[in-house]
């Protein structure tokens, strides 16, 4: 047993928390949290609030008894939905748009241009495509995981990914 696992068990024993929850929290924090925060921050245009949103989403998901095998996609979607419900959303998105700026002409050989172009292109995607693309390409979530998290069919996710990929390919100066 690792030292971290021992700490989790001790913490759980002291508080009455289910050991499974403590281990789940640790695993999420260690393996998925930073990327989920990055995705939520970008997708909502509110990077400053992303950490809070993700933490609250994780706790809410766990408190409601959900234990999906891979929490990343699930927590991401819950957090994004929460942020989007905020009246602050429109203001945050305007700030994000301002930061994003106008993408430069694509230069397929330039990583910097790739970065700018792909961010702008992802930001311009419809919500379903944007979420699917970020979960798939950045969080490495499977189509099934994404579908479960978004509450849609796998076919819908595949469509989102296909269209999103085509848009991103165009932004990166390639033909999908």
């Amino acid at each position: 047993m690792t030292m971290a696992a021992t700490k989790d068990q001790g913490r759980a024993a002291a508080s009455g928390m289910e050991p499974e929850v403590a281990a789940t929290i640790r695993a999420f924090v260690e393996h998925e949290y930073p990327r989920v925060v990055a995705v939520v921050g970008h997708a909502t245009g509110d990077p400053d609030g992303a950490e809070d949103a993700v933490q609250d989403a994780l706790l809410k998901v766990l408190a409601d008894g959900h234990r999906p095998d891979r929490l990343g996609a699930w927590v991401t979607v819950v957090a994004m939905n929460g942020v989007r419900g905020s009246q602050r959303r429109s203001r945050a998105e305007r700030r994000a748009t301002d930061r994003m700026g106008t993408p430069s002409p694509a230069d397929p050989g330039s990583k910097a241009v790739d970065r700018v172009s792909v961010l702008a292109a992802v930001g311009a995607l419809p919500e379903g495509q944007r979420t699917s693309v970020l979960l798939h390409y950045y969080l490495d979530s499977s189509v099934a995981d994404i579908a479960a998290a978004m509450g849609v069919s796998e076919g819908t996710v595949k469509t989102h990914l296909h269209r999103g990929r085509a848009s991103l390919a165009a932004a990166l100066g390639e033909i999908a």
């Binding site: 924090v29 949103a53 409601d64 970065r115 172009s117």
Partner: protein, 181 residues
């Protein structure tokens, strides 16, 4: 390189994950879970497929509610709501100011400085001082003068006392014992 790889690579570069202190964050989240502080009552359903609808008017992140709402002290007339004497994390905010001094006890033993972007939990209030915990710090409770800054957010998860002009009623450094220890 395939377009899929380029997309992955571009996203990796554009959205570099920021490292976290896994140990302290795990402890923090475990504590919050244990205390049932999962957010606001109006939080959307945690079933993602249903979370997007119907919750726009009930946004409930206490942290987001406080984010951006932290203002410089001395803003007389601002209505603030703070927990009184609650021993547990009750509200939170992200600092929009830089260089906010923190003390081990009210008026005594300056221990450091909070910076813009630091996330804190407000765990108590007494006589012009807030007891706060820096989420990313040691987890130790420290004290900040409401004259230095005060949140304009409310405190949904705790007992509420509304105090108009709370920041202006600062009484200066005290010699009182730490109120929440």
């Amino acid at each position: 390189m395939s377009i899929d790889d380029r997309i992955r690579q571009a996203l990796e570069q554009a959205l570099p994950p920021e490292p976290v202190d896994a140990e302290s964050l795990t402890a923090e989240l475990s504590e919050r879970y244990d205390q049932g502080l999962t957010g606001h009552d109006e939080w959307p359903d945690a079933t993602p497929g249903t979370a997007g609808g119907g919750s726009s008017a009930g946004f409930g992140f206490p942290l987001l509610a406080g984010m951006g709402a932290v203002v410089a002290g001395g803003l007389a007339g601002i209505l603030i709501a703070l927990s009184i004497g609650s021993p547990s994390p009750v509200s939170s905010a992200t600092l929009s100011l830089d260089g906010v001094p923190v003390f081990a006890c009210p008026g005594e033993g300056r221990t450091g400085t909070l910076h813009r972007g630091d996330r804190i939990y407000i765990v108590g209030q007494a006589d012009g001082w807030l007891a706060v915990r820096n989420v990313r710090g040691s987890g130790e409770t420290v004290f900040v003068e409401t004259r230095t800054w005060c949140p304009t957010t409310t405190c949904p998860a705790c007992r509420i006392v509304t105090a108009s002009r709370g920041c202006a009623h600062h009484r200066g450094p005290g010699r009182r014992p730490c109120p929440t220890r």
